[in-house]
Symmetry: C2
Subunit: 337 residues, 2 copies
DNA sequence: TTGTAGGCGTTATCAT
DNA sequence: ATGATAACGCCTACAA
């Protein structure tokens, strides 16, 4: 224990003393600098091993001006979509020796800027995942957040590396698919209003539907239970197809339909968004818009990594999602009940 | 830019100079020490604001001897079980101002000790989630890992705060349930052999089954696809009930049975472990052993938090899981096909 | 090749 | 109440 009461750990000086060299030499050995005499290398390594020495990451961080940490901020860790992105980033960054700090804003747009700054302060860079905060707020923060990259979100007047998904294209494919099956009235179970993804899906849905289909929108949420609770209303609206804000909502709706004895897809079709791993194991298998989630994470890291190396990041990418037609969508039944 | 090429940010000295006080006073103001003259507080705050000053977390970490970070090491971030634990920890720790570093060992027992040490080095404490490493390895590391807590894993000869689940009790309940429904032959779709949870489930299964039921064990894995692939074999063994290592495996098996036209639960029953959120939204709803995952995370943090405060941690807790009987289990059909 | 010394940005001790 | 000053543990010119 030192005077402040903490357990003093083995420092570079201890090793230097034991190996009878200077701290600088120990540092060089630990950092694999080839300019050190073989004999000294041996002595240092032996001393370090026997003392159980490991450089303090914090001290290294201070001295080097980089922590080897990046942060990722997600609106909800409970959502498989963000978990997958996190996973993609964690794996990609881990392969290059970077560790990941996670922060969950719990879908609270007001908390986001604070959390972002706070976590960014502890790290070398930041991945903002579908941030809920306003454009102007983010723009105002941008300088303090740098370097950072944006996932699934564009911020007006801000030139930041971005990876995203063309949800509008996905939605168009959904509408075309449903219209082709004979549906005339679809219901959208909307996600959080603060979510840009939801806005995009909703806007492009309105467009796609123009003069082709009737559309009802039900405010819902982003979790299974939300979909479960909202599915009944969608039916009352007279829709023969339900589009969920995401797979969780769609799967929740599906469960509700089944509980109510409504056959899917014979009576009602269901479509989701994201293609989380569970979508293909659902019964019936969920038709959904497949988003390359882990790849999104990898690409985000690719850009952040480049900036951290002082290079120009690759150009922004926007994935065009693929409609994965499975078993929850089918031709509309024309006979009455 | 300084000589090393990094962008010099605003430091405590800059603020001190601007406010015409000493760095010490700035520090006191930033840390809300009440002993500072109101006028100086004002000047400092104003200077800090106009310069956009924020204390460096790294420097604070070095000076204070604590980082405000904890690490969690999980075998697989792709598994909802660990995601939930992570979430529980992240929320609980976040409420007390701690941030969480995540590390994924990708189910590789050999990597674990290194990762554990490495991440622990950057943080104030560690949560080891169902570690795959050997007892002796962990015991040898214990000193360097301290303080840390163990989730779902006991290590022989090691007195470390632990939170766990009595999987044996869960398995007994499963066997009693299935036997009560008339099943005589059950198949277990085993998880990773390095997983202690799997060992425990398998051992207690062997015990519970003694003289009551015939048991087949199929090596499998821990993901949906593993269950999907292994389900066929279980049927060939003649089992009328399938117990998945976890819900992912069970849900995968369920999907396979459905694809093969095998009715559940009329023809075959299926049981999972964990009760991940999807279990209740499956069709049919999955019977499973409910493990309080987020609570596990919270309790883990509770213990780590206590140790970090220098207090004695609460006693170890072992949750007794509850068998959640839903719709994938039923009486065995006695008639032949 | 090796060592010395200054700096990284804060906090905390000890005078004043 | 405030201000020097010495840690905190490491890295890296620069000198030897």
């Amino acid at each position: 224990m030192d005077s402040v009461g903490r357990v003093r750990s083995v420092t570079i000086r201890d090793v230097a003393r034991a190996a009878q060299v200077s701290p600088a030499t120990v540092s060089r050995v630990m950092n694999r600098q080839s300019t050190v005499d073989a004999e000294l290398v041996r002595r240092v390594q032996q001393a370090a091993a026997s003392l159980g020495y490991h450089p303090s990451a914090v001290a290294q961080g201070l001295a080097r001006g980089r922590t080897g940490l990046i942060a990722i901020l997600v609106p909800d860790l409970g959502n498989p979509m963000f978990q997958s992105v996190l996973r993609g980033i964690s794996r990609a960054a881990g392969a290059e020796g970077y560790r990941v700090l996670v922060s969950d804003s719990h879908e609270m747009p007001l908390e986001e800027p604070l959390l972002a700054r706070e976590t960014r302060l502890r790290t070398d860079g930041l991945v903002l995942c579908a941030p809920r905060a306003h454009d102007d707020e983010l723009a105002a923060l941008a300088e303090r957040l740098n370097p950072f990259v944006l996932v699934n979100r564009h911020v007006a007047g801000l030139d930041v590396p971005t990876v995203s998904v063309d949800y509008a294209a996905g939605m168009r494919a959904v509408v075309a698919h449903l219209a082709g099956l004979g549906h005339r009235h679809v219901a959208y179970l909307a996600g959080p209003m603060a979510s840009v993804s939801n806005r995009q899906r909703l806007d492009s849905l309105h467009e796609s539907v123009q003069g082709r289909l009737e559309l009802s929108v039900r405010e819902c949420g982003s979790m299974q239970q939300d979909g479960y609770d909202a599915a009944g209303g969608a039916l009352e609206d007279g829709a023969t197809a339900i589009i969920g804000y995401n797979d969780l909502v769609a799967l929740g709706a599906l469960a509700r339909l089944q509980a109510a004895g409504v056959e899917v897809p014979e009576r009602v079709s269901v479509v989701g968004f994201d293609d989380i791993p569970f979508a293909r194991y659902a019964n019936p298998m969920l038709t959904t818009v497949a988003v390359p989630q882990e790849e999104l994470g990898r690409e985000a890291w690719e850009r952040l990594s480049a900036v951290l190396r002082g290079e120009d990041p690759p150009a922004d990418v926007c994935f065009t999602p693929r409609l994965e037609v499975r078993s929850t969508t089918g031709v509309v039944r024309t006979d009455t009940l």
